[in-house]
Symmetry: C2
Subunit: 154 residues, 2 copies
């Protein structure tokens, strides 16, 4: 079976249009499209300024002939993050200032996932993650824009 | 009824001993004491270096005579975070580099809480937060040290 070759690399500013597209596609799958407020401009500003708020990996595919199949991209990206945390990943310039943070020893990797997204939940479990909501009862809470405005005004 | 006066301020490096004490007391209440791995040294290094990984507010109490009562510290701290996010909070020097991040417009404030910690859940709801685990089915997943080491070694 022909497999596309996958390259995991750090996102560049020029990827923001595609990143937003992926965010929207995920939200559509999650039936949460109305919650996507971010713009390509905000993604650029937040991730590629002097003190970036996020760090992002992307997967590049070199398509190969044959049926499209699962490429294991999810596993490959999670593995890369774990590698970097262990100081065995890409060289310092790859992570820029973030490299220091990760090398200094992040001790956990956290994710959130919808309980009906069985494919994702199964993948994370197979890779060794623990469902903290199920095991310990953790609930995720969110103050949204309007609630924050009301709080601040009180 | 006599109320202590409460002052909310940014944590300083010298607070790390007390912050660790509070982390341990919370973990004990949560019956998760065995999960506390962090040391005072790591708290200092992570929060007060050149690229801090966290920002922390602390509440100072000036004790007043009378029975100790709830001081509304939880609400006051959450309100302060919302204020800062709205650009109505402390001046720039107070937040150092973090100020830029918050002023640029964080659009959400997220928390996690154990489902049996009714006092905390009720407080967050009363302040306007939404329980995303209940409402949408979000589960929190965690890869721990050992799982990350295994992943990275694969």
């Amino acid at each position: 079976m022909a497999m596309a070759s996958v390259r995991i690399r750090q996102a560049e500013e020029g990827d923001c249009g595609n990143i937003l597209k992926l965010i929207r596609e995920l939200a559509e799958y999650e039936k949460l499209s109305d919650q996507v407020k971010i713009s390509e401009e905000a993604l650029r500003a937040d991730g590629f300024g002097e003190n970036p708020f996020y760090c992002c990996l992307v997967a590049e595919l070199l398509p190969a002939p044959g049926e499209p199949q699962g490429q294991g991209i999810g596993s490959k990206i999670i593995k890369k993050v774990a590698e970097v945390r262990r100081g065995m990943g890409p060289p310092a310039w790859f992570w820029k200032s973030k490299h220091v943070a990760l090398e200094r020893g992040c001790s956990q990797l956290r994710l959130t996932v919808l309980d009906w997204n069985k494919g994702a939940m199964d993948l994370y479990k197979a890779l060794g993650a623990r469902d903290l909501t199920e095991a310990e009862g953790w609930h995720s809470f969110r103050f949204e824009e309007e609630a924050m405005r009301e709080l601040a005004g009180k």
